[in-house]
Symmetry: none
DNA sequence: TATGAATGAGGTTTCATTCAT
DNA sequence: CATGAATGAAACCTCATTCAT
């Protein structure tokens, strides 16, 4: 079976990641076994080790993939043409897809691991992401609503929105029926009340 | 024929829970070993089994304790005399204590376990808690601000506030330096703008 | 089975060493399995790990024990009262015991390991032993035969005797029937011819 | 239908043997992997199996090669014209070459394997070699020194010399700096004292 | 009742060997 | 013929749990 194309190898590697992500999210990283993952991927346990150093490495790739997917949720390619409200709506609408639960789960496992290990680098990366998103939200809010009044802490609002995003992920995980869209609309409405120049007239 | 007083038994049981909670949050439930917990509690591994069925049972008690602690955060005993804003402030101020991270961690582990098992009972309990808190927030908001205008979805605001609470826990876990208090104040301010009758004048 | 006496623990540890030494010499260190050793020792595989870090550690203890036994062969407690020839005779007579083959085997495995790893410390230890034995042989030869003539390199003879000792071990390993005692006598005779003042008269 | 010349096949087979001998002596036969050997030989793991049955077979060829090389050390082509002392000197001088360590290592691994398996054939072969060398030494000693005196056990001296040869190999393995040449000279001197007719005059 | 030595199932990982390409 | 991806048996080791003391 020698001299397999790179595409084949990449596909095999990807199929292992998919299988592992499924098993890890279904049973938890610690409880999922390499044998299960191999079976799910339709290969032998030993084969996994040609593509990943060990279970930890495999888990890290899965978790990183989820973290990356979550990051990208905030980097909508069409954002340039969208208003703050539209983009926010779109970002939260994503959470209604059932498959985002898997990303949330793996992200939370990752977060727990990093917190336990006091993994400064990883936590710093999260902070950087936090700051990038905050800046993005700030920019969009100002573009839509113009400069904020003195008495409104736009920065804190942006941070709160990002915090609410994580809360929404956790709530959707535990209660898929919860209507986060309505909550977002309510927040938009509050923000509109406070920032929109039409308010108060 | 009990040679040992009930109080002693309860104390020992509690010391095991404390030790287990420490180990579980430090290493994760799966990675923490019964031997470590026993050492931390200053007893022998075998002794744990006189107080808890098995490791799962012990973990469940720890996680439930954390979940209970989180629940109580919203049920401030002095709430009767407090305004919505004061109570909210107090509840979020709790999150600045470093030790709440442990509760957050164990709660998240619990959440992940329940989601994996599709543990309907446990998820229902979370939903019940969610609804109770939402009702409480609604009640307090109405008591403070009076009936909401037609165009403000107070229910969704209450839900969003609860969601933000979970987001704040996650953010504090990953970035202890984040200023959730300022974010809460910003949200209060937004809510005030929308609901307070003084607005617009 | 708690609170077992130290004597019991030491005995158990020793029985593991005995079982491991048997298995290691019978199958080689690499080929012997922990399960076999456990079975030989009449315990479960897991129990071994309460007494030894891991297989390597266990093997090291076995090999060190063999090396120690070989060292002691040259340190006969009654040596003070014995002549060089008597002590030499006794030391080589030991090699007729079939059980010394085990020590030879484990020592050789150890030597191979140390050579592969270029384990300077261990090789230095062997050198120290070499020098100690050489000095001992020199001392005994001088005590028995007096100062050596100018043209006889007593030091080299002592070294050669030690080298021959190792050769004898290897030969006995491969050909247990070989008569090393006669060889020793022949060497003694040669040494006598050269050193004994009666020679040449 | 052979596409590849026999010479090419033989060359490749030889290169595998060289690579395997290097790996086996560096890491031990058990620890060296077929993949490593293949990499060292610059071919694929699968290709080895076209030239050797399996790892054991390959190891046997390597070990036999070493054993053969050691045998040949005693069968110096120019021996016919040499005295006992000259040939002995030459044979031991070989041990100063660092590369003989590899042969010693592999020979010892082979010896350990044969002893473990009680491999009668192989051990018999060693005995035959032993007897051939003994006879050779005897012949040479008689040719050089003439018939031995009654009181000198020339046979035992020959055996002892062969035993010393193995000891010298082991010592050189563990202490490359040891001066085996001087030891040999000392033994020659002893033998000369005892056998040379000039002695005593 | 507490102890902690022992168990042994089960997990991860390695690697000799095979065989489709 | 060579390749090297895949297999899968088997090894090491861990640790929740038990139970003799």
């Amino acid at each position: 079976m020698a001299r397999v194309s790179d595409a084949h190898l990449a596909a095999r590697r990807h199929s292992i990641l998919v299988a592992a992500t499924k098993c890890f999210s279904q049973k938890g990283i610690a409880a999922a076994t390499m044998a299960e993952i191999a079976a799910e991927a339709g290969i032998s346990p030993g084969a996994i080790y040609r593509y990943f150093e060990n279970k930890d490495d495999l888990a890290r790739w899965c978790m990183d993939e989820s973290a990356e997917a979550i990051k990208h949720a905030w980097e909508n390619p069409t954002s340039a043409e969208m208003s703050f409200v539209e983009l926010s709506r779109l970002t939260f609408a994503e959470l209604n897809k059932p498959e985002v639960a898997i990303d949330t789960q793996l992200f939370l496992e990752r977060a727990l691991i990093f917190v336990r290990d006091e993994h400064a680098g990883a936590l710093g990366e999260f902070q950087a992401e936090f700051e990038k998103v905050r800046a993005g939200i700030l920019f969009l809010m100002e573009r839509q609503f113009g400069p904020a009044p003195e008495d409104v802490d736009v920065q804190a609002i942006a941070e709160a929105l990002y915090g609410f995003y994580w809360g929404a992920r956790v709530m959707k995980l535990l209660m898929p029926e919860v209507n986060t869209d309505a909550q977002v609309e309510a927040l938009h409405s509050l923000i509109g009340h406070a920032l929109d120049k039409t308010c108060g007239k």
